[in-house]
Symmetry: C2
Subunit: 242 residues, 2 copies
């Protein structure tokens, strides 16, 4: 289906779909010769998922991060979103209670403390965001750490070597041959210990710069290595897809 149909079905605007395409959050399954975006049912499903996350107040960047995460699982996501929506409803109920009380106070029936007048409003730190991060961000980190712990001495050495070598060349362009060669080694190493599609590989790279626990660990091999790897991994994944 084309943009308009997609927009009408889901209720979002065409412009929004364009935007989601621009930032890489929802990329149409296909693009015609003329440049028309063609969406699939799968795309529609992903959009629904995105909207659930949005309902929880997550920023698009976070949503992208979560959904690109290699260990992202739809079932789990839906269950978590459901739970979180229930929390949101509870919060809304609190606001309603607050307003009911305020009305009563106005009638002179009861009294309220200044604090009470503001129970239920949510500002600053978004609790849903926390929850989502714990559920996915941390999961990848934990898995990663576990794998590192389980490494044999040989693996350890190989792992360190790859990072050291990458750190040495982190000044070059991420598209350069040398960079792509080293990243290729990293990709194949990862696929020895796990299973990473180019897409998942890119997602992992994204976390290198987005989750500070990754960033810190990686940058121990050299300042800026995480970012360099992310860039190089993106390029690599993109080429691998074609």
């Amino acid at each position: 289906m084309k943009v308009k149909e997609m927009a009408e079905l889901s209720g979002v605007s065409v412009r929004t779909l364009h935007h989601y395409n621009d930032i890489g959050l929802l990329v149409p399954e296909e693009v015609t010769e003329a440049g028309y975006r063609i969406y699939s049912d799968k795309n529609l499903e992903v959009l629904q998922q995105i909207l659930f996350f949005k309902e929880l107040g997550l920023p698009l960047e976070k949503i992208k991060e979560i959904m690109h995460n290699p260990s992202f699982d739809r079932r789990e996501a839906l269950l978590m979103q459901r739970d979180t929506l229930y929390s949101k409803r509870e919060r809304l109920d609190e606001v309603i209670r607050t307003i009911e009380k305020t009305i009563q106070e106005l009638k002179g029936e009861i009294q309220m403390s200044n604090r009470e007048k503001f129970t239920g409003f949510d500002f600053g730190h978004n609790p849903y965001e926390e929850e989502a991060r714990e559920r996915w961000g941390d999961q990848v980190v934990d898995e990663s750490e576990e794998k590192v712990k389980k490494m044999t001495g040989y693996d350890q050495e190989k792992f360190n070597e790859i990072f050291r070598e990458l750190a040495l060349i982190r000044g070059v362009s991420p598209e350069s041959e040398i960079a792509q060669e080293k990243i290729d080694i990293w990709y194949h190493y990862l696929n020895e210990v796990g299973n990473y599609s180019p897409h998942a590989f890119e997602g992992l790279g994204h976390m290198y710069v987005n989750d500070e626990r990754f960033t810190e660990n990686i940058d121990q091999f050299g300042e800026g290595l995480a970012e360099f790897m992310y860039n190089a991994m993106s390029v690599y994944a993109e080429r691998k897809k074609n």
Copy 2:
């Protein structure tokens, strides 16, 4: 109390209070010599009111408009906000139902149409905004129209004259003496038929540019008259307050 206390009590940030001050939404009762904002309990109450409106998704500009409206009434506002919050809860419940269904579908228990997958999400047209506008915006317009209808022939003539004269000078600066003189006439005329504080007067001017029904009517006397009057009325009200 000073900003920080205010912020802590209500849960909003200090920066937010600054912002509300900047846009004229919540102006502290008092300002010390040193420029410190001092808020009163009344201010706190207004802030609560603002937050209720915000919870309904109203843009700050609209909130300002509504609360500056001469016929704004706190009791009525609270009742309306309560009702609207209940609608919001119903909408949230729909989203929750949608997600529950989606989970069921994933388990293969039921099937969903594409449309169903998006029931509950709210985009574009904000229904709460509508409701609020009907409740206040329209009220002022209606009152205005009623007054116009009740006018005697003499009043009609005077009314038209004022507008024609204002239209003639609408190119000059709103602060200029001539503009302020004519606006003074308008102010006093209004206070013959009704009761307008400088504050309410400013609110009225605000509606001239913000409600198209006003704008259209006024601009019949000359293109851009509504905006000119709004500006001149703001200046006038500001001076009148001091």
